[in-house]
């Protein structure tokens, strides 16, 4: 109890840190580094006063040391105040500590502290790379300057004297962080500090240089990148009042406004560009640390190029002002050999390289294709050429898609990175197609229209026609490239949203694509594109559908008849003969046999939703008054479903004594909105009715935000307006669902041509989706 009285007496004599922070927060124009420096200075003066009060009347050899970000003067509003109380084995040090820490805690400031002797501090830094990193940029805030400077100097000397160990620990720590936080430039909701390309990477480069006794060369573009990230981090902390550096979608608009960006898209593009600069800088630094420094003999790898000291260098024969293939060949050689471009080579290519003449010489076009053909290794080299301003000499259109964000959960990359990744995926499929060069170029350019207003496919066709001609492709090849861009979504759309047993759907694809060669190219492009889009865009389910569609489209092109629809199996018939509800689960496929009734599919969908099973597709079948519906389920569930319970619930629901609606409402009410990234803007529900694609049925496509029981609602609305569902496909694109239903008029089993009935159907679906639980 006695300490309480003393602590209240030692309250800070002037304004507290939190008051100083509030005053700074009212100056939004202060910027990033200026704000952080000012806040660090405020912390310094507050802590010096607290320290002076804490040691008053005591004779202690002690110093208060700022470490980590605070040591660098990069204190952000939500940062911990990270300090070490250094002392020479003072017995009374805990009294000093008490007098220091309590006022800080009482001010509500996050404090990260330790109390150490010089030996403890140096020993700790030798064992723990994080401690060492924090101390490399440490400085004395208050107390015994000489004591502090001596220990900090010792830690720095230790870091440099064990350079190899320091670098390998730093490397391991850095890679672990990259693995955990991903790449800042390509993430929808990045961590500004820890993601690859974030501020930690800059600190790591400085620490690596310190280990080698070097300093990092000044780079104004790097400083500008760090300044932007600091500003965003300050704004994020100020707006949220929290310490998280995770820039979530919900905050991006407000952060954009605070840092003066036009909107969140512009902000995220600027952040991506900054992160790329930092990543490029950091990669360059690490390459140089890794690369063996011993000189090896120059290895000739084509006109003007050589591998020197494990880097791609330009020889004296290189003619960057004349040879427009040089930069591309250098990059391809680097990608193929897995070595970096030499710094001098990069500088020379950037300064002296020229745009290729139009049309491109064949050698330049070949070098371009060869670079794309290097696959995953080419991605970072294209990035390097882009950072040097070289890539846009070949493709000025690239500027419009550079760092362009795609702010929804379906896409994982910015447009330019998505294009590079697609080309890298396509490089693995070159043996499956007749024209690898066309596949690779189409993969790189298929979304180039996303930099232009309007439909990206239409814009892309025009842009690619120009580029293909400029690149010197003959007209028929240019036409093929344009066709691939035009139809790059066709196979994926039809495979996931149309009934592949419907000959009309397959025939339409065959007719649009035209030839076996184009179909192979399109299939490879579709796979490469889907894999580069995001985890929701590719998986075994989609792969199987795509393969089925491609096989059937090839058959249709060859004039072969479509396969007959799968008949009911004997087992199914035997189950139907019982006249009772039966539910047979086989891996991801569930067959439901039940007495037929309107809305059966809706009740099944609702019951499955209640048990958290996701339906991916459904085919309705049956004979007489028995239905036999087959459901494809998403097998990504965590626990094995309790089929006995599901069957019992379904039986109750069919009997009408089960409050399905109420139970789903409870589940929807209890379901927290998913914490994962969704989309920048909420999806709106839309219904598209297609009565022309197939004579057998009316195709109803519904797009809506994903929610509990959404399929239950749509299928219920279809049933009550007098339609039967022949088959259904359910697609979840991150935050949005795209459900396709082949519906027929109930009882008549045929396509509906009555516009009024179709309007009623559309209205019923939309109002069912709007209905609150």
């Amino acid at each position: 109890m006695s300490s309480t009285a003393r602590l209240s007496n030692s309250a800070p004599p002037t304004a507290t840190f939190s008051a100083a922070r509030l005053a700074l927060d009212e100056q939004p124009t202060l910027g990033g580094r200026a704000y952080c420096n000012a806040l660090s200075a405020a912390a310094d003066s507050w802590l010096s006063q607290l320290f002076a009060a804490a040691v008053e009347g005591r004779k202690v050899a002690a110093a208060l040391i700022a470490v980590g970000g605070y040591g660098r003067g990069e204190l952000c509003p939500g940062s911990d105040i990270d300090v070490v109380l250094l002392h020479k084995n003072e017995r009374k040090i805990s009294e000093v500590a008490d007098a220091l820490w309590y006022p800080i805690w009482d001010d509500g400031v996050h404090l990260d502290y330790s109390v150490r002797t010089p030996d403890e501090m140096v020993g700790m830094a030798g064992r723990d790379v994080k401690v060492a990193l924090g101390l490399l940029t440490a400085r004395c805030v208050a107390g015994d300057d000489d004591l502090a400077a001596g220990v900090i100097g010792q830690v720095q000397a230790q870091w440099a004297s064990k350079a190899r160990q320091s670098l390998s620990r730093l490397r391991a720590e850095t890679e672990e962080r990259w693995e955990q936080y991903g790449e800042l430039a390509f993430l929808l909701e990045p961590d500004l500090k820890r993601a690859r390309g974030g501020m930690r990477d800059v600190d790591a480069v400085h620490a690596a240089a310190a280990a080698q006794g070097e300093t990092v060369a000044a780079d104004p573009m790097l400083d500008a990148a760090v300044e932007l990230l600091l500003r965003c981090r300050v704004a994020l902390h100020q707006l949220t009042g929290r310490t998280s550096d995770h820039l979530v979608l919900d905050e991006q608009d407000r952060v954009a406004a605070r840092v003066g960006a036009a909107d969140a898209d512009e902000l995220m593009a600027a952040i991506a560009a900054a992160a790329r600069r930092i990543t490029w800088h950091s990669d360059d630094a690490w390459h140089r640390i890794d690369g063996p420094r011993a000189s090896t003999d120059a290895d000739d790898i084509g006109p003007g190029l050589a591998i020197v000291n494990n880097e791609i260098a330009l020889t004296s024969a290189a003619a960057p002002t004349i040879d427009s293939s040089l930069a591309l060949r250098a990059a391809a050689a680097a990608a193929a050999a897995g070595v970096p471009l030499a710094r001098e080579a990069m500088a020379q290519l950037a300064a002296e390289g020229v745009a290729p003449p139009v049309p491109w010489p064949a050698a330049t076009r070949d070098a371009f294709v060869a670079l794309l053909g290097c696959g995953a290794g080419a991605v970072s080299l294209i990035e390097t050429l882009d950072q040097l301003g070289v890539f846009e000499r070949y493709l000025p259109e690239w500027v419009a898609v550079r760092s362009r964000p795609q702010r929804n959960a379906y896409h994982r990359f910015t447009v330019d990175r998505h294009l590079c990744e697609t080309a890298a995926n396509a490089a693995r499929r070159v043996r499956d197609v007749g024209r690898p060069d066309i596949l690779l170029v189409a993969a790189l350019l298929h979304d180039i229209g996303k930099g232009s207003p309007g439909d990206h496919t239409v814009a892309g066709e025009r842009i690619v026609a120009d580029i293909a001609t400029r690149m010197g492709f003959p007209p028929e090849d240019a036409d093929e490239l344009v066709r691939l861009v035009r139809y790059h979504l066709l196979l994926a759309d039809v495979a996931t949203r149309r009934d592949l047993d419907d000959p009309a759907a397959v025939a339409a694809v065959a007719q649009q694509v035209g030839t076996h060669e184009s179909l192979d190219l399109l299939a490879a492009l579709t796979e490469a594109d889907s894999m580069a889009t995001g985890p929701a865009a590719w998986g075994p389910w989609k792969a199987e559908l795509l393969e089925t569609l491609v096989t059937r489209a090839h058959a249709a092109l060859a004039g072969e008849p479509p396969p007959p629809p799968t008949p009911l199996s004997e087992a199914d018939r035997a189950l139907m003969a019982t006249g009772r509800l039966r539910l047979i689960a086989d891996e991801g496929r569930v067959t439901v046999v039940a007495p037929d009734r309107p809305g059966l599919l809706s009740l099944v969908a609702g019951t499955f939703a209640l048990h958290k099973l996701r339906i991916r597709g459904a085919v309705a079948g049956g004979e007489g008054d028995m239905a036999c519906d087959v459901f494809e389920l998403d097998t990504g569930w965590h626990d094995a479903p309790r089929w006995d319970r599901i069957e019992a619930d379904l039986a109750s629901a069919l009997a009408g004594d089960f409050e399905l609606e109420a139970k789903l409402a409870r589940q929807a009410g209890g379901a927290r909105p998913p914490r994962r990234a969704s989309a920048a803007r909420a999806a709106h529900a839309r219904v598209l009715i297609d009565n022309t694609s197939t004579p057998a049925a009316t195709i109803v496509e519904v797009r809506a935000p994903d929610a509990v029981g959404v399929l239950y609602r749509i299928t219920g609305a279809i049933a009550v307006t007098g339609f039967d569902i022949a088959s259904a496909k359910v697609l979840t694109l991150g935050h949005e669902i795209v459900d396709t239903f082949y519906v027929v008029e109930a009882g008549l089993g045929r396509r509906c041509t009555n516009p009024a009935a179709l309007r009623r159907l559309e209205d019923a679906i939309l109002s069912a989706l709007r209905r609150p639980w």
Binding site: M1, S94, W101, W105, K130
Partner: protein, 112 residues
């Protein structure tokens, strides 16, 4: 009725128990828990590794009281458990809808 929950230093449990019993509050539930607060589970002179937030052993006590006695009970626990050092804990109270004594079937204030 309110449920008073207090997180206190383990060695203060006996004192708090005696104080509550002395003031006429007869029932209490205590459990061993671990947690951390603003100081991240560190002592004043922390010498461990960096970046660790450690859980500290604590005792959680729960007492159901009549709303009229609420402030008195909170004050009593606070004054008994207080050392003035970090880690003294927290006390909170929540409104209680229903209380039943299982053996007799008595409800609410009857069951207190």
């Amino acid at each position: 009725m309110h449920l008073v929950t207090a997180i206190i230093k383990p060695y203060k449990l006996e004192e708090v128990k005696d104080a509550l019993r002395g003031a006429g509050f007869l029932g209490m539930t205590a459990s061993e828990v671990q947690g951390y607060g603003r100081q991240g589970g560190k002592s004043e002179t922390f010498r461990g590794g960096e970046y660790q937030i450690s859980f500290v052993p604590k005792v959680k006590i729960e007492v159901v009281v009549d709303t009229a006695d609420l402030d008195k009970v909170i004050d009593l626990i606070a004054s008994t458990a207080k050392t003035g050092k970090i880690g003294d804990g927290k006390i909170w109270a929540t409104d209680l809808d229903r209380l039943m004594r299982v053996r007799t079937g008595e409800f609410d204030s009857e069951a207190l």
